[in-house]
């Protein structure tokens, strides 16, 4: 695999959805016909464990990469980051039809929230990662067009960065590919398609968007199943993915920055969907559309209790690991309960 060709990886949909398989096949066929691209197909990226050949293959890719998946681009990008596939986030120009019509009456655009996250841990390699959502269009042409545009953009960027003095001889053999700063990239093995496509077991775990995560550690306090941990720099990370209870999205509701995603959860906001047209938040009509007026925190507490009970443990309600959101309320006069808590605190228990 050459560094000067654009790597395109297609991450399949989980399960055997015929329409999705069919789109994957037609997109892959169109891409393979295209020159200048190295195309590979892997099973659902989200389900790949660390030993899966698909992961090992991805780790060996050092150049620019386009990942086509059935995940929201934000979810795919941070998922890749978590498994060690890092790079600068490339801008994808595809606009699915549903995003194109703007409401003419809308004059005020919601503000884009400032990105105040701690960012990814460690150095970002000098390459770009483009994540494309295969749910945006159901024919191959828009994807092909965008990938051609991306290939040209990557080529321009590379040529602008380095004067053309190096010629990589592409013998079509997998070789050790030097990275831009001169140090050799990881050795790459030739992977057979059957190895890459070994079907993985389904997994369920959160993905942190570090452009939003402020390292407040509330998720660490909230999850009682040991999913979260901290690295050597005391930064939050999803440490024990497979301790996460299947289907439970509770921690994503308590994150104050909405930095936690469950890429395969039914509600698009939690799955990492882009919000609004320009990045503002959507209004939540749940209060108006009936039902108990439960805020996100109450929902999270219910979900966590459900998983605790299913696990044979005690439900804890609001007693444990609840973010202290009362801070902004003005302090009222202390009542007997407050006095009792103060007394207990002073005992140093």
């Amino acid at each position: 695999m050459s560094r000067t060709r654009l790597n395109v990886v297609l991450s399949q949909a989980p399960g055997k959805h015929p329409a999705k398989r069919s789109l994957e096949e037609s997109v892959a066929a169109a891409l393979i016909m295209e020159s200048g691209l190295d195309v590979s197909i892997i099973p659902n990226l989200y389900d790949l464990g660390p030993d899966h050949t698909g992961r090992m293959f991805l780790e060996g890719v050092t150049g620019d990469i386009v990942v086509l998946s059935w995940l929201f681009p934000r979810a795919a990008y941070w998922l890749l980051d978590r498994i060690g596939i890092k790079g600068h986030e490339g801008t994808v120009s595809l606009k699915p039809a549903r995003d194109v019509d703007e409401d003419e009456e809308e004059s005020e655009k919601p503000e884009v929230p400032e990105a105040k996250g701690i960012g990814t841990n460690g150095k970002i390699p000098d390459r770009h990662i483009y994540c494309i959502d295969l749910r945006d269009f159901n024919t191959p042409d828009p994807y092909l067009g965008e990938i051609r545009r991306i290939a040209a953009e990557c080529k321009d960027r590379r040529e602008a960065a380095r004067p053309a003095t190096m010629a990589f001889v592409d013998l079509g053999l997998p070789t050790k590919a030097p990275s831009l700063n001169g140090t050799p990239g990881p050795a790459m093995q030739a992977f057979l398609p059957e190895q890459l496509l070994a079907p993985p077991n389904r997994r369920w775990y959160p993905v942190i968007d570090y452009s939003r995560c402020t390292n407040c550690l509330e998720c660490l306090d909230f999850c009682l199943f040991g999913v979260y941990g901290v690295n050597t720099f005391d930064q939050i990370l999803v440490e024990n993915q497979d301790s996460c209870k299947k289907g439970c999205p509770a921690c994503s509701r308590v994150c104050p920055e909405q930095a936690i995603m469950f890429p395969e959860y039914k509600s698009p906001a939690i799955a990492g969907a882009p919000v609004g047209e320009i990045g503002g938040l959507k209004i939540d009509l749940t209060k108006l559309f009936g039902g108990d007026v439960k805020d996100a925190l109450a929902m999270a507490v219910n979900e966590r209790d459900r998983e605790l009970v299913a696990d044979g443990r005690q439900a804890v309600g609001m007693e444990v690991g609840i973010p202290k959101r009362q801070d902004h309320k003005p302090a009222g006069p202390k009542d007997d309960l407050d006095k009792l808590m103060d007394d207990l605190d002073s005992l140093g228990l």
């Binding site: 409401d103 698009p268 559309f289």
Partner: protein
């Protein structure tokens, strides 16, 4: 009696009088087969704008309690959980709008129907009752929505 119209600011939300309404902003109408068909009222549609995703979390045939969570919706301007408007059994979901939700916007009171149920409409109100309900809550609703948009 002519259809009622509730003014949401400059927008005229049509409330046909040939059906009843629920407090969660769905209309309901009896079908020839004796089921009750539900859809969003024009008021709900105006708040939501174009429907992008519609997802049901219960299956056809499920018995549901009133206000039980049955799904969620995401639109160009809003997200929301969706709840059962009455207690009963959901007999079927409109498969056409699941494939293409645009009918919900284009033909809210016709082809944009959401699901059909068995149950009692005792808790529902007629068009005038719904109109009065909207009028009583309009100030408060605006406050809730503005509170979410501009902080």
């Amino acid at each position: 009696m002519a259809d009622l119209t509730f003014m949401m600011g400059k927008f005229a939300a049509e409330l046909p009088v040939d059906r009843r309404y629920c407090k969660n902003h769905m209309w309901c109408a009896a079908t020839p087969e004796g089921l009750i068909r539900f859809g969003f009222s024009a008021y709900a549609i105006r708040l939501m704008q174009d429907v992008y995703f519609l997802d049901w979390s219960v299956d056809a045939g499920a018995a549901v309690a009133m206000k039980q969570s049955i799904g969620n919706i995401e639109t160009s301007k809003a997200v929301s959980d969706l709840f059962a408007p009455i207690a009963g059994r959901i007999v079927s979901f409109n498969q056409d709008v699941l494939k293409d939700p645009s009918a919900i916007n284009v033909d809210t009171y016709g082809k944009g129907w959401l699901f059909e149920m068995n149950g009692s409409v005792d808790s529902t109100v007629d068009a005038q009752g719904y109109y009065d309900y909207l009028a009583a809550g309009w100030e408060n609703t605006q406050r809730i929505l503005k509170g979410q948009m501009g902080d």
